[in-house]
Structures are given as structure tokens and as C-alpha cells.
């Protein structure tokens, strides 16, 4: 048994996601690499005109763990779809409970330039909506293994400066702002939301399928 398991929420509806959410469904284990296992298919109308969808999932500990970090090691492979993460306010929260204009979201980006002397990273887009001063940003190798995490000093548009950087070269790597969780004891669980933004005229990804990669890192207590 893995130290951590991932589950869907009790309410999840492909055709009317407005009431998604609620508590953990311990019969609905999320497995890696299974199509439509957490995010359901984007309907044709949404693919054409765009929209936002929210899906809730849970991380459940099977042993005592500490210092968990959760982030998007690899953002969506669809060029016209973006995903973000945020922490659930409560385990029974529904999408209709969310204050969508004031969500603290976390998300991924690609490093386009690294200026080590100035402790500065430039992202492939404006990241100020999901990377904030004081955040931890985690950089990932091509195989989605964690390379290093640094603390954000300032954010401006696509530029991030860090308080300190290490000797690691983060040029052209994927990175993400990180949600920290202090600890989970065995059998405790915590809810998170995926915010999916579908741009108008989003086209289907076929080979490979539309995908993003969540990564969680932790220590055993």
C-alpha cells in the first residue's frame, strides 16, 4: 500500500459540474494514467466556446507523514487548456461554495530564462496570478522528479526573483508553485480542487492524451 492515496469526491458530474465536490468517496480511488479518472471529458460545447470546471480530489495518508508539498509537475499537454490547484476550505465543500473570484491558486509554468547571478527566473507567461511572494516554487526534471525548491522573493509579470538559489541549473525546466501541508496522520485526508480553464476552440489531444501530472512529496514522520 502506498503511503498516500488519491480519491475522488462524492459528487462529480460530466454534464453539470456546478455541484461537484463534497466529501471523500473512499470507493473512488484515482489511479495514475487512467483516462477520465479525475477530470471528466470536456464536452463539445465547452471545447468550442471555453469555460472553467472544478474537480475535487483528496489525499489520504495510510501512514503518518509530514511536510507534504503538492504541485503540478507537468502542466496540461493541451495547448489551449490550463489547470491550477487550490486547497479545499473544508472536506464537504461544493463547487457552489467557492468564492471563485478570490481563489488562491497554484500552478505550473516553463522556465524560459534563468539568470543565476540575479536569482531570477523568467516564465513562459505571466505567472503573477498563481505565484506569490513567499511561495515555494519547485522545479522538475524532464521525468517529473523533483530537482529543487526555492522561496519566492518577488513576482512581476513573468519574472520571479528568489531569496536564495542553489547551484542547480533550472534552465528550461518545468516548475510550479507549491501547496504546503504540515502533516497528515494515518487515515487522515485532505481535499484539494483542480481548476481547469478551457479556452475557446480547444482541440482534442489524441496521442498522447490530454494530460497533466500532479506531484506530491513528503517525509515519513
Amino acid at each position: 500500500m502506498a503511503d498516500l492515496e488519491f480519491y475522488k469526491s462524492l459528487k462529480i458530474d460530466e454534464f453539470d459540474p456546478s455541484n461537484n465536490g463534497d466529501d471523500i468517496d473512499t470507493n473512488a480511488l484515482i489511479e495514475s494514467g487512467i483516462l477520465n479518472n479525475l477530470l471528466l471529458p470536456v464536452r463539445p460545447y465547452t471545447a468550442e466556446v471555453g469555460g472553467e470546471r472544478y474537480f475535487k480530489f483528496f489525499i489520504k495518508a495510510t501512514v503518518d507523514v509530514i511536510t507534504l508539498g503538492l504541485d503540478i509537475a507537468s502542466f496540461t499537454t493541451s495547448p489551449t487548456e490550463e489547470v491550477y490547484l487550490f486547497e479545499a476550505g473544508s472536506n464537504t465543500e461544493l463547487e457552489s461554495d467557492l468564492d471563485k473570484n478570490n481563489l488562491r491558486v497554484y500552478g505550473g509554468f516553463l522556465v524560459t530564462n534563468y539568470d543565476k547571478d540575479n536569482k531570477k527566473v523568467t516564465a513562459d507567461r505571466d505567472i503573477s496570478g498563481f505565484v506569490k511572494a513567499g511561495d515555494t516554487v519547485t522545479f522538475y526534471n524532464a521525468d517529473n522528479t523533483k530537482l529543487v525548491s526555492w522561496t519566492v522573493d518577488t513576482v512581476s509579470g513573468a519574472d520571479i526573483t528568489f531569496t536564495e538559489v542553489s547551484s542547480d541549473d533550472v534552465s528550461n525546466l518545468k516548475a510550479s508553485s507549491t501547496i504546503y501541508i504540515d502533516a497528515l496522520n494515518a487515515n487522515e485526508y485532505k481535499g484539494f480542487w483542480v481548476k481547469e480553464v478551457v479556452s475557446p476552440f480547444t482541440e482534442a489531444m489524441e496521442d498522447p492524451a490530454n494530460e497533466f501530472v500532479l506531484n506530491i512529496w513528503y517525509d515519513l514522520k
Partner: protein, 156 residues
């Protein structure tokens, strides 16, 4: 040393149908957005409507947007945008890139009639440049010159 677990989340995007019969219904749905400029396109007086000019800001279900440029004359699109070459280099480059890779997504005869019983023919094109999505919508009412409108969806 931290432990890692990676989870690959995959989902399908259902293809929307570009057949004229289906495009018609979907565009009709967009017409229902009261604040949509598409609504104005459904009126042959649009070209003369002084309320809708370059820079007109609007809200639809697609988010907030802005009409970047309305081209009202039946002239070559490229000739028209060439005027921007010196005025707004970025916009010119964006449009030029778009026209290189024009992706005609939807074309259909829209049998929606305005009060003059004019039939409209719409083309909808999209392009992406610098992670911003632009939409070009061309309305022909078969009587007046085509109206080309470029929407910049700055929510993206």
C-alpha cells in the same frame, strides 16, 4: 530525502462539430448573450453603429474581451492590416502570423434573420499568438461589404 509520488491525470476533450448545421445552433447560443457584440453583427446596421468602434469592451460567457479592430470595407484583409505596420507593430505582427496559419474552424450559412430579412454568412477564425487568443469573425449579409472583427480575449 523526500519521497515523491507522481500522478498522471488524463482526460478527453470531445471534438465539437464543424458541420454547418451544428455551427448554426452553437452560434445561436452565443447570440443569446445579451452583451455579445455578435448580437450587433446580427444587425445589418452594425457597420453604421457608432457605439461599436475599435476598442469596444464587452462581456460574454467567453469572458471579457475587446474589439481590436473593425474593418468595414470590402478590401483585402492583408492590405487593410498593412496600415498597422507602422502604427502598431505588435498588432501587425500578430495578424500577419495569424494569416499565415489561418485555421478556419467554422463556416456556415446562418439562417437567422434580422428585421430586414437578410441572410448572414459567418466565418469564424481563431489564432493564438504569444499565448493570447484572437478571434476573427467575418459577417456577410449579402448586401453590404463584409464586416471583419477581431476579438482579443485578454482573459487568456
Amino acid at each position: 530525502m523526500s519521497n515523491n509520488i507522481s500522478l498522471s491525470i488524463q482526460n478527453e476533450i470531445k471534438n465539437y462539430d464543424n458541420k454547418p448545421c451544428c455551427v448554426k445552433n452553437k452560434i445561436r447560443k452565443e447570440y443569446n448573450n445579451i452583451n455579445s457584440p455578435i448580437e450587433y453583427l446580427n444587425n445589418s446596421d452594425f457597420a453604421l453603429n457608432s457605439d461599436i468602434n475599435d476598442g469596444f469592451k464587452y462581456t460574454t460567457n467567453e469572458g471579457n474581451g475587446e474589439i481590436v479592430k473593425i474593418i468595414k470595407n470590402n478590401v483585402s484583409f492583408m492590405n487593410e492590416i498593412l496600415k498597422y505596420k507602422n502604427m502598431n507593430k505588435n498588432l501587425y505582427e500578430e495578424i500577419k502570423n495569424f494569416t499565415k496559419n489561418i485555421n478556419l474552424l467554422s463556416r456556415g450559412i446562418i439562417d437567422v434573420y434580422n428585421n430586414k430579412n437578410t441572410q448572414f454568412d459567418f466565418n469564424i477564425n481563431k489564432y493564438k499568438y504569444n499565448n493570447i487568443y484572437y478571434f476573427e469573425r467575418i459577417a456577410y449579409d449579402l448586401k453590404t461589404p463584409p464586416i471583419r472583427v477581431i476579438f482579443k480575449n485578454f482573459e487568456d
